[in-house]
């Protein structure tokens, strides 16, 4: 049986988290993500989980990392100012390989910016925000139903690859209410869990990875398996070695465990792309304008399609190269001064012209505004 509801994107994230088996949330409420904290405070105790409102943003992710180390699927949510504060902890989760989901509902920045207005200013920050070479997965939903599905997927990916997964939302989708059909119970939902060690506790090497997927088994704290967690570069024992070869081996594995599995990780949507001669690339809330603009263009006989990355990092490199080889041009539409377009340009590498329609005035682009930009770009 199922329920048909009118929910906000933020509320759909909450249901997705519960469905995926998240049982700990630590965070500090911030617009436009507050509904996630507010509703999880209600929902988690109902399913035997714990909700903790922390003293600040840093502790929000800190507690989620701690709860994950103790064996619970964990998450936090925030917006730009809080995402800035969380970067140090994010780096720890990367190097210590702690599964955790961080939802960032973007608003206008920098700093306090415009709390209630939409933007997509953290595209590059979500990829590169914490210092040092590191690799994360970033997904971005474009609808309320997709906010539910993608939260489940974010949790599953973080568990499977032992990596922080960032759910990069924006105010458009976080606050929008639309129809969603939810199952009455979440028993049938496919939920991945981190692998746990099968060896004896005294034989456990916390960071000895399986050859096949390069992901080490993770023992929950308190289970009798002892391991050392550190932000220092470490070898398979969990302790720092400090040798050049050890650092290379360690970082290569953190990279390869993600980038050897791109076919599993990278998802995207092609909308009216089959016979397209020109493509719009947009994701998250900006894609809502793009679907409508593509339909307007089609009504005028223009063969325009939309390529919508759902996994925005790692970048869908293979897919964008394939598209660039068969069309006359690409327009990247994003709610910022131009971030994703830099990566699109790098990957397309001159195979077709790449233009930008960056919007950074507190408002979504209307389909008509985007259509006008498509026409301009098609003339290039």
């Amino acid at each position: 049986m199922s329920r048909t509801l009118l929910l906000q994107g933020n509320q759909a994230v909450v249901e997705g988290a519960v469905a995926a088996g998240v049982r700990f949330y630590g965070g500090y409420p911030i617009t436009p993500s507050t509904e996630i904290a507010e509703q999880l405070a209600l929902r988690l105790p109902q399913v035997g989980g714990k909700f903790m409102q922390t003293e600040d943003e840093i502790a929000g992710l800190g507690t989620a990392i701690g709860a994950s180390m103790a064996g619970l699927k964990s998450m936090t949510a925030t917006s730009g100012p809080g995402f800035s504060l969380k970067q140090e902890m994010l780096g720890l989760a990367c190097i210590a390989e702690i599964p955790v989901v961080i939802v960032d509902v973007q608003r206008v920045g920098p700093a306090t910016g415009q709390p209630t207005s939409p933007a997509q200013g953290e595209v590059m920050m979500s990829r590169w925000g914490t210092h040092g070479d590191h690799w994360v997965i970033v997904v971005s939903p474009s609808s309320v139903p997709e906010s539910f599905e993608l939260t489940i997927r974010a949790v599953n990916l973080s568990e499977k690859y032992r990596v922080p997964v960032i759910m990069l939302m924006d105010e458009v989708i976080g606050h929008m209410r639309e129809k969603i059909v939810l199952p009455d119970d979440y028993q049938g939902i496919e939920a991945a869990s981190r692998k746990t060690p099968s060896c004896k506790p005294e034989e456990y090497l916390a960071y000895a990875a399986d050859k096949e997927d390069l992901v080490p088994a993770m023992a929950p704290f308190g289970s009798g398996y002892r391991w050392h967690v550190t932000g220092l570069v470490h070898d398979e024992t969990g302790f720092p070695k400090g040798t050049p070869a050890g650092t290379v081996e360690s970082l290569n594995r953190l990279h390869d465990k993600i980038y050897n599995h791109l076919d599993d990780i990278v998802t995207f949507e092609n909308y009216r792309m089959d016979d397209a001669e020109f493509a719009v690339i947009a994701f998250g809330g900006a894609a809502r304008s793009a679907y409508a603009a593509v339909n307007l263009a089609r009504q005028e006989g223009l063969k325009v399609g939309l390529f919508r990355p759902i996994t925005i990092w790692p970048f869908p490199e293979k897919q964008v190269q394939e598209i660039a080889g068969r069309i006359n041009g690409i327009l990247v539409h994003e709610l910022n001064y131009g971030q994703y377009v830099l990566e699109v340009g790098r990957v397309v590498a001159g195979a077709c012209p790449v233009s930008l329609y960056g919007k950074y005035d507190n408002e979504s682009a209307t389909p008509q505004e985007l259509l006008a930009e498509i026409k301009k770009a098609m003339k290039k």
């Binding site: 009118l6 709390p115 606050h175 929008m176 209410r177 639309e178 129809k179 809502r288 304008s289 209307t366």
Partner: protein
């Protein structure tokens, strides 16, 4: 068929709640609906708007670019949010707060929304439900059963009867004008 609604006024008048109720009623009727809003960082005061799109088809862009129905419940909102109406738009005003609406319209409906809320239910805070009743009666975009069910599902316990009365008051304002 697609209906584009914009409810605007001052933060605290309950216009976002009104938008949610209309969207929920549309879903109860089996239609597609998207509701969005725009407001400032203030908890109360400041201009606020809620938008609802009701359609039989998939709704891609979730914001309203030309309202079929614009409700204005403050003069500031009338000035700020009527710039993109056209000659087919219906503009509904609350006569207590609004004198001039600069935007174009096909029909202007001036109703004593807040006054009627006080008269029927004793409090100005029922004005949003009176407005929902009026707009439902004006457009017929959702069924009477669905709108009543949606109102009752959203309002605080113990206020059901007063809200039903507010809804009927709004419907009567339009029918008896």
């Amino acid at each position: 068929m697609t209906h584009n609604f914009r409810f605007s006024g001052t933060g605290g008048q309950g216009l976002i709640t009104a938008g949610i109720i209309l969207a929920e009623a549309a879903i109860l009727d089996g239609k597609e609906a998207v509701q969005s809003q725009s407001y400032g960082p203030e908890a109360r005061g400041g201009s606020s708007k809620a938008e609802v799109i009701v359609s039989d088809e998939t709704i891609y862009f979730g914001r309203v670019t030309c309202p079929d129905v614009l409700l204005v419940m403050s003069q500031e909102a009338a000035d700020k949010y009527s710039g993109d109406t056209n000659e087919h738009s219906i503009i509904v005003t609350d006569t207590l707060f609004v004198k001039d609406v600069p935007g174009r319209c096909g029909e202007r409906v001036d109703l004593p929304i807040t006054h009627a809320a006080v008269e029927a239910c004793g409090k100005t805070l029922f004005a949003n439900i009176v407005a929902v009743g009026a707009i439902t009666a004006l457009t017929g975009c959702v069924s009477d059963e669905a709108i009543e069910k949606a109102v009752l599902a959203r309002v605080p316990k113990g206020t059901e009867e007063a809200n039903k009365k507010a809804l009927q008051t709004g419907i009567a304002l339009v029918k008896n004008r």
